[in-house]
């Protein structure tokens, strides 16, 4: 279910800790990066590797906002609207993203390319307003910059997907 590279990475991560269970969240996050979301198979695999029951993994997942049980778009756009970003137009920026993509908070475009999420402070307060696309930061944003970025990401895709 997971690649050999990731499997080796898992083996290496688990050795860092005196208690295998400590590796649970890192394993879930890396598996999600590869699989796209935390599927039932991911839960079973992580549970087996860190030596706990699958229900114990499920309990932990619901605590963390970055772990998704459902698939999200290939590009997950996370707009920060917390205080520093709000003061510099983040609400308007988020509305603009909704219009541009035709989706709302925690929704995905029908082609599966983009998801949109309003998130809490990303630690980019001095570059507000800011967002993350997957793990990449984009700062000092304007609606025009967001448009250009989304268009650029669309262009990267094979024609059949547009």
């Amino acid at each position: 279910m997971i690649s050999q590279t990731l499997s080796r990475k898992f083996d290496q991560i688990i050795t860092r800790y005196p208690l295998k269970r400590s590796a649970m969240v890192p394993l879930l996050l890396y598996a999600q990066d590869e699989v796209g979301h935390v599927s039932d198979e991911v839960i079973a695999e992580v549970a087996r590797r860190v030596d706990v029951r699958p229900i114990e993994v499920t309990e932990v997942i619901s605590y963390y906002s970055m772990l998704h049980r459902q698939p999200v778009g290939k590009y997950n756009i996370q707009v920060c609207t917390n205080i520093s970003c709000m003061l510099r137009g983040a609400d308007e920026l988020f509305d603009h993203c909704c219009q541009k993509l035709g989706i709302g908070h925690k929704q995905t475009t029908p082609d599966g390319l983009f998801s949109l999420e309003e998130v809490e402070c990303l630690g980019a307060c001095c570059g507000a307003p800011a967002m993350q696309v997957n793990y990449d930061y984009y700062e000092n944003l304007t609606p025009e910059k967001v448009d250009a970025l989304i268009d650029e990401l669309k262009k990267k895709e094979p024609r059949s997907k547009i």
């Binding site: 208690l19 996050l29 906002s65 630690g123 984009y138």
Partner: protein, 439 residues
């Protein structure tokens, strides 16, 4: 990194200690670090008795940069010398206090400074393993720190018998996955043990019973990044950089309505007015200042009349707020403080872990109360009701998240009460001129 902008400000008023290497080309590499005093402090520390290292840090007046402001050397001294259980050092890199973004450049531009600080703290308490808990969103920093750790291992700054001293130390990163609460030290420990990040009851404090049941020191990234400078240049030198009992410099993150947003390294005790007007270039477009959050969203807000204060822990506490984590958020005259209060509470309601009922219920109630001034349905009693709810959270929760939610709300309700009344009277937000229905 695409679209990434350097967050560092640039002001002639800065005193650069922990940020002094940031502008060097390849500043994150071990070679550059070694050319600029790198690992000299570790050499010096390893030739000193562990308790003398603790005393040096204690005397420097370094206080926790995560927000609590406790004397770092004192915190280390609470770790028992003899322990049947293994001891640990944990670096808190779960930076997520709104308005705060200073740990990012510390890991991005100078990861070895942090690593050296962690090794020295490990030596001081005689721990042999450390973890750097990085928030999940900071994936690119995790990769930078991992590269630095690999370099340090390859050159004998980590692992067995460091620099021939006989002291062993292992260090690795750990990623979180999105949870503000995990910045609280005991919640962080639970998270690191693979559990939900609920806080633990204190006492016992982590210094006695922490990670995997062993004595544990948990310090913020910025706190630990200061350690090599203190060891190398001495406690007296460090203490003199700041104000009495507030040693050193700190990274202040200026954000919001400010002409030159950015992270600036300034001496402790630097006047807030000068920070806003001279360092940050004042409020843009000639607008007047309305309010300032001095140290991240958990701190009570200050009005424009309260900014003649020295930015150190004791002076800011004296006027009823906190120096917090260095996130200085500036708001101009057009800012709706009712909206600010609502937005801050939405954050805490989202991040409350749900363990303590006053926090879990109170933050949700407050969020609904504060947001209905804008969404419609606010009652004339709502400002008083909100205050009552906030006071019923304050001091009644296991961890400081409850207080962090209550304090800014109370301060905004008290200092900007007229704005709440105005919303009720007008039936719309005077700042957005948008009609709302009032019950």
């Amino acid at each position: 990194m695409p679209g990434y902008d350097n967050p560092m400000g640039n002001s002639p008023l800065e005193v650069k200690v922990i940020s002094k290497r940031f502008a060097l080309p390849n500043s994150a590499s071990l070679d550059v670090y070694l050319q600029h005093d790198g690992y000299q402090a570790l050499k010096k520390a390893l030739a000193t008795k562990p308790e003398d290292v603790i005393n040096e840090v204690k005397n420097s007046g370094l206080r926790g940069r995560g927000g609590a402001g406790f004397n770092t050397g004192m915190k280390w001294s609470f770790v028992p010398k003899q322990s049947a259980k293994l001891k640990y050092v944990v670096c808190n890199a779960d930076e997520s206090e709104p308005g705060t973004c200073k740990d990012r450049p510390l890991m991005e531009y100078d990861p070895h400074q942090l690593i050296e600080g962690i090794i020295i703290s490990g030596y001081a308490i005689q721990a042999h393993q450390g973890f750097i808990y990085v928030r999940g969103e900071y994936r690119y920093l995790l990769e930078i720190v991992d590269r630095a750790l690999a370099e340090a291992y390859a050159r004998g700054y980590l692992g067995k018998n460091l620099l021939g001293s006989g002291f062993d130390f292992d260090l690795c990163t750990h990623t979180g996955a999105g949870a503000y609460e995990c910045g609280e030290e005991t919640a962080l420990l639970n998270s690191l043990e693979g559990l939900r990040g609920y806080p633990r009851i204190k006492p016992p404090f982590p210094a006695v019973l922490g990670l995997y049941g062993g004595p544990t020191v948990i310090n913020n990234v910025e706190t630990l990044s200061n350690i090599p400078h203190i060891i190398l240049n001495g406690a007296g030198w460090y203490a003199k950089l700041g104000s009495p009992k507030n040693g050193g410099t700190r990274l202040f993150c200026l954000s919001g309505h400010i002409s030159r947003p950015g992270i600036y390294e300034l001496p402790m005790g630097f006047p807030l007015r000068r920070m806003i007007e001279e360092v940050g270039g004042g409020v843009p477009r000639g607008k007047r200042l309305k309010a300032v959050i001095p140290g991240g969203s958990s701190c009570p807000v200050l009005t424009a009349e309260e900014i003649d204060v020295a930015m150190d822990y004791d002076s800011v506490a004296k006027i009823g707020s906190m120096l917090g984590s260095g996130g200085v958020v500036i708001m101009d005259e057009d800012t709706c403080m009712v909206k600010v209060a609502g937005r801050i509470m939405r954050f805490y309601a989202h991040e409350s872990c749900g363990w303590c009922i006053p926090c879990r219920e109170g933050t949700s109630w407050l969020k609904r109360l504060l947001e209905r001034f804008h969404s419609g349905g606010a009652l004339p009693d709502d400002p008083d009701t909100a205050l009552d709810v906030a006071y019923n959270i304050l001091g009644k929760t296991l961890c400081p998240l409850g207080d962090a939610a209550a304090m800014p709300t109370i301060s905004i309700l008290q200092k900007f009460r007229h704005e709440f009344e105005e919303h009720l009277k007008l039936g719309y937000c005077p700042y957005e001129k948008k009609a709302v229905s009032v019950a």
